[in-house]
Amino acid sequence: MTAIELNNLRKEYKDVVAVNDLSFTVEEGELFSLLGVNGAGKTTTIKMLSTLISPTGGDATILGKSLRNEAQEIKGLIDVSTQETAVARKLTVEENIEFYAALNGLSDEEIRERKAEAYRVFGLDTVAKKQASKLSGGWQRKLSIALALVCRPRILFLDEPTLGLDVLARRELWRAITSLKGKMTIILTTHYMEEAEALSDRIGIMDRGRLLFVGTKEELYARSGKTNVEDAFVEIVMGGDVHA
């Protein structure tokens, strides 16, 4: 089943076109990575798909619901982890999870269950009683992603989840993300090519608001004549339009 379908999705800011008539689909259970240099339009695309900003043209359906007309219904199906850490600073890790779960209408029993799950997947039990503001950047990022999972969204948007993390924290997060594969649809944006290589089922490459490529890693290698994602990315972005 198709989880996300973009139909000429567009976002303009005055005379700047941030996202230029984007069209592609993502299947349910897929991990889809959006790659691009700074200003390519990845974050704007994620923000539109997660209902945070409105498109100025086109539309997208999220699990069959229109972004333009059914944004409130879509909110119950998705969650997002932004580039910046998004936690309540003066609440403890445990209180953050309880707060976010309660805000989304989970029962006390469900909250207990999801808390245990977040502790298990991200190892948060060791810092459960610590205030979020006193955690390291890596732990804050883990908590931020754990919060996005508390309500078991059918679609999860991860906008540069490992940005600024050291190599060990990044690998730990990769493990956590890998454990979610197949359980939900994940849209990931990243600057780290090895991250896309390790995690993705399919990859989309954006440049200046336009989609240059969409397909599997194997299709990417075949199109670009390269044998790794980084070289293939450079070839496609520098070499012009190459469509799968």
């Binding site: 923000k47 997660s50 209902t51 945070l52 900003i53 409105s54 409130q72 909110k75 119950g76 998705i78 969650d79 997002v80 982890s81 932004t82 580039q83 910046e84 850490t85 998004a86 936690v87 309540a88 600073r89 003066k90 609440l91 209180e95 707060f99 976010y100 309660a102 805000l103 989304n104 209408g105 205030q131 931020s144 919060l147 996005a148």
Partner: protein, 250 residues
């Protein structure tokens, strides 16, 4: 409706925890005004009627409420700065529920301020203890809504650094134009007009008049109330619009 109330209640509990765990907010909203109340009473109450407790206690209530603007503004701008609000925007909560969540978290602080400053006033000058204190406390909840609304507006419009500057305009406006720190007699006509038409003096007068009793319900209660409510509604509507605009990422 039930879901909406539940979400407001969850947001309120979180906001209250954030505020109470910030020692600065307690120092500025409670400790500093309390210290000034005691200090000014002990030094000046025999020298000038301005600082007799019947005027000082309601005046301090208004002064302390101005700091609610600062802390509401800081809380919201910090939430925005850390992308915490962005996360919440993806939840089912709507903009008015966020606003009510902030207001409801700050009202208990306004209530505590009012009770405490009247109580301490009553201890220092027992003859002021009267049923008027109850009316003073109740009306102060209404006057606090203006300062809280101003804080939500400032927090929605400005970043963390600018919130301090913008809030200090409200705090200075309250201090200078409320007339609680110095008598209005002899001030220029322009200042007197500003005091009568801006919300600060009217907010202080309302608490004072409800506490001491009014001679004319129209002049001493209704007029200041209508002026203050006008500002409160204006600021709150502007705050909701500004907050909603931020929610949509515009």
């Amino acid at each position: 409706m039930r879901d909406s109330i539940r979400r407001i209640s969850v947001l309120t509990r979180r906001n209250l925890k954030e505020i109470l765990r910030d020692p600065l907010s307690l120092i500025f909203t409670i400790a500093l005004p309390l210290f000034l109340e005691i200090l000014f009473y002990l030094i000046f109450h025999k020298m000038t009627a301005q600082f007799e407790m019947r005027y000082l206690a309601p005046g301090i209530v208004g002064f302390a409420q101005a700091f609610l603007t600062l802390f509401a503004g800081l809380l919201i701008s910090q939430d925005r700065n850390t992308a915490f609000l962005t996360r919440l925007y993806v939840s089912r909560a709507r903009s008015h529920e966020f606003i009510f969540g902030y207001v409801a978290a700050l009202l208990p602080i306004a209530f505590t301020q009012s009770i405490l400053f009247f109580l301490v006033g009553g201890i220092l000058e027992p003859q002021i203890i009267s049923v008027g204190m109850i009316w003073g406390v109740l009306i102060s909840l209404v006057t606090s809504l203006f300062y809280i609304g101003a804080g939500i507006l400032v927090g929605s419009l400005a970043n963390e650094k600018a919130v301090g500057g913008l809030s200090s305009i409200v705090i200075s406006g309250q201090s200078i134009l409320s007339g609680m720190w110095f008598p209005a007699d002899g001030l220029g006509k322009g200042i007197l007009i500003a005091m009568k038409t801006l919300p600060f003096k009217n907010a202080t007068l309302l608490v004072q008049n409800c506490f001491l009793g009014v001679e004319s319900a129209t002049v001493d209660f209704l007029f200041p109330l209508l002026i203050l409510l006008g500002y409160t509604v204006g600021v709150t509507v502007w705050a909701i619009l500004a907050f909603r605009k931020k929610m949509k990422g515009e």
